[in-house]
């Protein structure tokens, strides 16, 4: 069944406390190649049947209105995976 994958990230200009904590841990174990970490979310929406424009538009709407909060997050990707 086709799946719509939605990726959501905290806004670049806002503090991401989780990413900051992971970046601190990487520095402690000597992984110095990575200067910053940001943590986002991946949603997999399973679709019964075909993904047409209507379904994709619905996915965009819920990505903007439910899966993310535009005050603190951005939807950075919506793609269909077979």
């Amino acid at each position: 069944m086709p799946t719509i994958v939605v990726d959501v990230m905290p806004k670049a200009e806002l503090l991401d406390p989780q990413g900051k904590a992971v970046a601190g841990a990487l520095a402690r174990i000597g992984e110095s190649a990575f200067s910053a970490v940001r943590i986002g979310k991946r949603f997999e929406l399973t679709v019964d049947g075909e993904v047409d424009d209507t379904v994709l538009a619905q996915a965009r709407t819920i990505a903007d209105e439910v899966l993310s909060n535009s005050v603190i997050e951005d939807v950075v990707g919506i793609e269909v995976v077979e």
Binding site: P10, E13, L14, L15, P17, V66, N69, V71, I72
Partner: protein, 235 residues
């Protein structure tokens, strides 16, 4: 006729019973309401209590903000009914767009539990009128996702329009921008804050004060304010 204040219980609410008790102590009648209902049962004011609705899944308060009863809460708020969101309830109010901005994990990643000093920044709301403008109060704070954020333009508007209801004093416990602990809407009927007024309403169970251990009852004025606001409309 006594004033009736509804407290909505969501799956994962923790402080609904404490809020009901605080309402009773203030002299009003608490009414237990259910998230899955569309009936506010004719209450005069509403409290969205603290807790961890839906385990804080997705975002704190986000799934609860989609509850059936929230349609009626939005209508009531638009009609001017006093609505107070405490902690998780504050998170629901921002997710429901009844208050601006958002709340994220505490800047230090720690769950914070302490008696918190606050300054009342707006004593002209339905939930703060019994305070003096600028009054310092102490009520408990306990949360993991209390960092208040908003973009620069929203923050400027919030400050410019006097929508900051409470500000943290002393140490900023969670990285909230501008030390914001609580907000009001433009009309002053919808107020949300991360600290817990319902835990500071009964001598013996509140924060310590200079006078005696656990004697702090600064939370009482929240509920007294709402009762006064409802009475003023009825008069």
């Amino acid at each position: 006729m006594t004033i009736r204040i509804g407290v909505i219980t969501f799956p994962g609410s923790l402080d609904d019973r404490d809020a009901q008790r605080a309402i009773r102590i203030a002299g009003a009648t608490p009414v237990a309401l259910w998230h899955g209902s569309h009936d506010l049962e004719g209450v005069d004011a509403l409290v969205l209590p603290g807790g961890f609705s839906y385990g804080d899944y997705l975002r704190s308060g986000a799934i609860a903000a989609l509850s059936p009863i929230m349609a009626e809460v939005k209508d009531a708020a638009a009609a001017g009914m006093p609505v107070l969101g405490i902690c998780n309830g504050f998170q629901m109010l921002v997710e429901a767009h009844l208050l601006p901005g958002g709340l994220i994990r505490n800047a230090n990643q720690q769950f914070i539990r302490r008696d918190q000093r606050l300054r009342v920044e707006n004593a002209a709301t339905a939930w703060t009128s019994e305070f003096a403008q600028g009054q310092e109060i102490v009520i408990p704070l306990k949360n993991g996702e209390g960092g208040y954020i908003a973009d620069a333009a929203s923050l400027a508007r919030i400050e410019g329009e006097g929508l900051v209801a409470f500000r943290y004093l002393g140490v900023n416990p969670n990285g909230s921008l501008n030390d914001i602990a609580g907000l009001t809407n433009e009309r002053g009927n919808v107020v949300g804050l991360m600290p817990h007024p319902e835990h500071a309403t009964e001598p013996g169970f509140g924060p310590d004060t200079a006078a005696a251990m656990r004697s702090g009852v600064d939370g009482q004025s929240f509920f007294a304010s709402a009762i006064a606001a409802v009475a003023a409309v009825a008069a």
